[in-house]
């Protein structure tokens, strides 16, 4: 079987900061990582390959430096890496991204065999939209399973897959036909440490690089900033909502206990409210 895993190189959000004056994200010097959710997707694909054999192609769209992330994916054991990189992809929102990725996946299908499964993480840590996976599925016209926690069974002869999907208030067990797209939930597995020959191969293997044209993009106006109806109006660092939270326990008269607790920490509030009451 042939599976495609879409990954994204993202800034390590633990180290990202918003410039206090200009309110722009300070990307300079922030290390990049593979989007952590994508690693659950990659490991899920690797586990399937362990059982059923086949190949894994990792795909990303990004600047030339995204090659680092692809090499890391090869270190974990992926067979092939494709980097979709072109200036015209810059500034893409989720709509334009799905267009580019879907086009590239079609091309991957032509070049290396049609994929049975396409994996993504449930979302990225920089955008947090969770739209790209479903968008790609829609554009490719394949079925989609989002928030998958576990792959229970795969039947290659019958072309079916059975998964556990986490939903509000429970777990759904879903069976569907291949090919399909799966977005993996976090903490469902742990990415393996690649063996030495994988590491050696990853350091030396060529990375397939496609421009928009090479990937088979026909309508360039659907790419990048041009193809993105989403506009970022403002970026800001949210101020902390509360200094701390506390639990007020009261068996009787909880309202009174709550008022006491608030006034104890905000003595000025009590005086102000009393003054207001007097004036009224």
């Amino acid at each position: 079987m042939h599976n495609v895993v879409c990954i994204k190189q993202v800034p390590d959000s633990a180290q990202i900061r918003v410039h206090p004056v200009t309110n722009t994200i300070m990307r300079q010097g922030v290390p990049t990582i593979i989007n952590p959710y994508d690693l659950f997707a990659l490991e899920a694909a690797l586990e399937l390959r362990d059982k059923f054999g086949g190949e894994i192609t990792v795909l990303t769209m990004g600047p030339p430096s995204a090659e680092d992330s692809l090499r890391k994916a090869l270190t974990f054991g992926a067979d092939r890496a494709v980097l979709l990189t072109d200036r015209c992809f810059a500034g893409a929102d989720t709509l334009a991204t799905t267009y580019a990725l879907a086009t590239a996946i079609r091309k991957i299908g032509k070049e290396y065999g049609p994929p049975d499964l396409i994996f993504t993480g449930k979302q990225t840590i920089d955008g947090d939209t969770a739209q790209v996976g479903p968008g790609v599925a829609k554009r490719l016209g394949v079925l989609q399973l989002t928030y998958v926690a576990k792959i229970r069974a795969l039947d290659l002869a019958a072309h079916t897959i059975e998964t556990e999907r986490r939903s509000e208030g429970g777990v759904q067990v879903l069976r569907t036909r291949l090919p399909c797209l799966i977005t993996m939930l976090e903490a469902t597995n742990q990415i393996r440490r690649g063996a030495m020959d994988d590491a050696l191969r990853a350091a030396r293997a060529p990375i397939v690089k496609w421009s928009a044209q090479e990937a088979g993009v026909e309508d360039i106006s659907k790419c990048g900033l041009k193809g993105s109806p989403t506009v970022v109006k403002r970026v800001f660092a949210p101020s902390a909502r509360a200094e701390k939270a506390m639990l007020v326990e009261a068996a009787e008269q909880p309202a009174q206990a709550l008022i006491d607790a608030i006034f104890k920490h905000q003595p000025k509030l009590e005086a102000d409210l009393a003054a207001l009451a007097r004036d009224a």
Binding site: R193, A195, A203
Partner: protein, 433 residues
């Protein structure tokens, strides 16, 4: 086990390891470099001074592409007591010329660039790959390394140990002695972000000019240590180092020392309002001349901090690391091109070439007083200077004439104490560069 065999395996991708790997790769050797960190420099939080002439030998074009923070135009030396400092400034104008030769670099950034050069030269570089053990044959010859990856034994003709101060691979393999707490200093350091203009105004710098401050003093309970402050492009790195045995003896914590250092009235204004970005600790070997470790053996050589080629000013360590890495690589290449095996007798060429280069470098004005022939230990000799200086100041302070009547007596006393400082052996040319 990996079938493939390499001409050389370099353990570690710091300055020395990169210099060695780059040199051998450029010579057409088949090189594998293994680095524990996520990327070269990822384990490094400090800034350092890079010598342009030394770097040029490895990468002639480094000025174009390498991340250089500022060119160094001034070094300051401070002797601290608890509330004040006495300072010396050394400003060198030859660095203001068109082709500067001293740069402040942030290792995390510079090493990453350096590592890319190594890869471009054709070496295979694996990150996040820890060498767990040297593989030896029954006759004690190093034949390769074991790593923490599955099937991770790799064979090579020679292993270059550039593993840093800990040097535990060599120690564990029984090739070298373990360092004792009085032979190793622990350095704790932080990186503070500040806008570029503020750094330039606080340190009195023009754009792209850099300064470092080295501070010595009696820190606490008779402990001695050295602190440093580097003014980088948009951040300040600072830290303090102490002998591990001193920390043991006094029960002081390294972070406590650093906090005190940062709160010192001379230092606080420099970092005031900054944002702490990173912090880390680092070990620096401080063995004396008589206990220099073995530098080579059957199938292995050791370079950089691991070789303890650093009994000099802290800021010269980086350049020594580069030199030792390059020379070890050249020696290995010569041995190989003669068709000889890497034995302890053939690899002794490394030490021979290192000594020769020392003879050359000794006459070079840019070079720090070097390595094996220099018994003084900067970390240890500095505090002696400090204490003598303090004695001088104390004398000056309690002297009967101080501050009385005569208008030029204070000036005289200042002069006198400075002379005292120099007389007490601030061996400037040696200590500085």
């Amino acid at each position: 086990m990996i079938e493939e065999r390499f001409d050389a395996i370099v353990v570690g991708a710091g300055m020395a390891g990169n210099a060695a790997a780059l040199t051998m790769a450029k010579r057409g050797m088949k090189v594998l470099q293994l680095e524990r960190g996520e990327y070269s420099g990822s384990k490094n939080v400090r800034a350092a001074i890079l010598d342009g002439d030394i770097m040029e030998q490895l990468a002639p074009d480094f000025r174009e592409g390498a991340p250089l923070e500022r060119r160094l135009v001034e070094q300051r030396f401070w002797l601290l007591d608890s509330r004040s400092h006495v300072g010396l400034r050394y400003r060198f104008n030859d660095c203001n010329t068109k082709r500067p030769n001293q740069y402040i670099v942030i290792r995390a950034l510079f090493d990453k660039w350096f590592s890319r050069k190594v890869r471009e030269a054709g070496a295979t570089v694996l990150y996040q790959s820890t060498v767990t053990e040297l593989a030896q044959n029954c006759r004690g010859r190093v034949i390769g390394v074991r790593t923490d990856r599955q099937d991770g034994i790799i064979h090579a003709d020679v292993v270059v140990l550039a593993e840093g101060a800990n040097g535990w691979l060599g120690t564990r393999a029984g090739l070298r002695e373990r360092l004792t707490p009085d032979q190793i200093a622990l350095q704790v350091k932080e990186m503070h972000l500040l806008p570029r203009e503020i750094i330039e105004s606080r340190f009195n710098l023009k754009r792209d000019e850099g300064v470092i401050i080295e501070a010595a003093g009696t820190i606490s309970r008779g402990m001695t240590g050295m602190g440093f402050i580097y003014a980088n492009r948009e951040c300040i790195s600072l830290g303090i180092g102490c002998l591990v045995s001193d920390l043991q003896r006094t029960g002081e914590t390294p972070y406590g020392l650093l906090e005190r250092f940062k709160r010192h009235p001379s230092i606080l204004p420099l970092i005031n309002g900054s944002e702490l970005k990173e912090y880390s600790a680092h070990l620096i070997p401080k063995r004396g001349y008589n206990t220099i470790p073995q530098l080579y053996g059957k199938g292995w050589v050791v370079v950089g901090d691991a070789a303890e080629l650093n009994n000099t000013s802290d800021c010269g360590r980086l350049n020594l690391a580069i030199i030792s890495g390059r020379i070890a690589a050249e020696a290995i290449f010569r041995v190989k091109s003669r068709g000889a095996r890497s034995t302890s007798s053939t690899l002794s060429l490394y030490k021979k070439m290192l000594n020769e280069s020392y003879e050359d470098l000794k006459n070079d004005k840019y070079m720090p007083a070097l390595i094996h022939t220099q018994p003084e230990n900067f970390l240890l000799s500095y505090p002696q200077l400090v204490s003598k200086a303090i004695v001088n100041f104390a004398r000056f302070g309690v002297g009967p004439k101080a501050g009385e009547g005569k208008p030029n007596s204070k000036c005289f006393c200042d002069m006198w104490s400075w002379t005292g400082l120099f007389g007490d052996g601030f061996r400037l040319p040696r200590a500085w560069r």
